[in-house]
Subunit: 179 residues, 2 copies
Amino acid sequence: MPSKPLNSTAASMLGLLHQGPMTGWDLLSAAERLIGNFWSLTQSQVYRELAAMETAGLITAGTRGPRDRRPYELTDSGRGAFAEWVNREPGKEHIRIPLLLSIGFGQHINPELLAHYVAEHRARHAERLANYMNVLQNAEESGLVPDLYRRATLRFGLIYEQAVLEWFDSLPAEIRGES
Amino acid sequence: MPSKPLNSTAASMLGLLHQGPMTGWDLLSAAERLIGNFWSLTQSQVYRELAAMETAGLITAGTRGPRDRRPYELTDSGRGAFAEWVNREPGKEHIRIPLLLSIGFGQHINPELLAHYVAEHRARHAERLANYMNVLQNAEESGLVPDLYRRATLRFGLIYEQAVLEWFDSLPAEIRGES
DNA sequence: TGGTACATGTAACATGTTACATGATTAG
DNA sequence: CTAATCATGTAACATGTTACATGTACCA
């Protein structure tokens, strides 16, 4: 009985659990750190999926530790479900960039306001780029070379942020505002 | 009474309706063409929001044409709601790239399969890039220069796809497969 | 001893997805 | 005349968001 196919949120949690037992909180921060740049989870979802996956027998809860920490670990069934899921065709990318909507409807926005939003968002992307460079440099310095796959996803972030900044800097003065 | 704030899906529909009355179908294809690269709508949502916005008085339906076509147009109230919405801080970008999840969990995937998926997705991005170049070239040739804002969003697509291809081509043989 | 970060969970609601039902018009 | 495309709409369900409720442990 193959039951319902996994959703990708649950699946990513199972993927992370291959590193060892984790609590909901752990999962949330691991997700943020490891896949947060191209995949998002909310706390609410995490606990909901944990409950559902426990019911479905894909994970089992350990005994509660200190602050009510409740570590979950994979069952064989969970491992199997993940293996099946991860080998399937990855779906289409899903991108939503509100700032581009704003620019697309730019003629309806107060120009100074638009320039302000643009500058704000540019700054956030610059920060993120700096962050990627930092992660990569720390890894290098500490001699802890991230594995092949991790490097690939990190590189994606790096290249993406570089491209976005390039785009920001190519915007005409009418949109960026004159500085 | 400011009623419920617009959601961005509905708001984008109102934005498109500034070009003139459109049916649900028209809206769907206009959205696909104009903002589809960084914003998505489904047919179901479009009709749902149309109904909701008509009830809310933001749009009014004209008389049914040929194939039951039912054109909607903005009311003053709709125009106002849009103006308010579009001037607000654009939210955070939201990106979900299943292929990156697959690569992040790459150690659990059959390598040939992964290489196959990677090649497939690379091809799609190459197509999209070609498409952007085409749109831009056609515009140039026809002398119909797209406006400032449209150019900015188109250029985003262009730069994004270029970056993604660069990333694909930087992937190690273990991930891309040897060719 | 008080504030911050940790930690779990629920409820209500908004949004997005998929599948289905129904039919009209047009092009070949 | 028939297949493709146009066109609207509903229903059921899955997923994502926001807000709230309730504490615990740690560190300065």
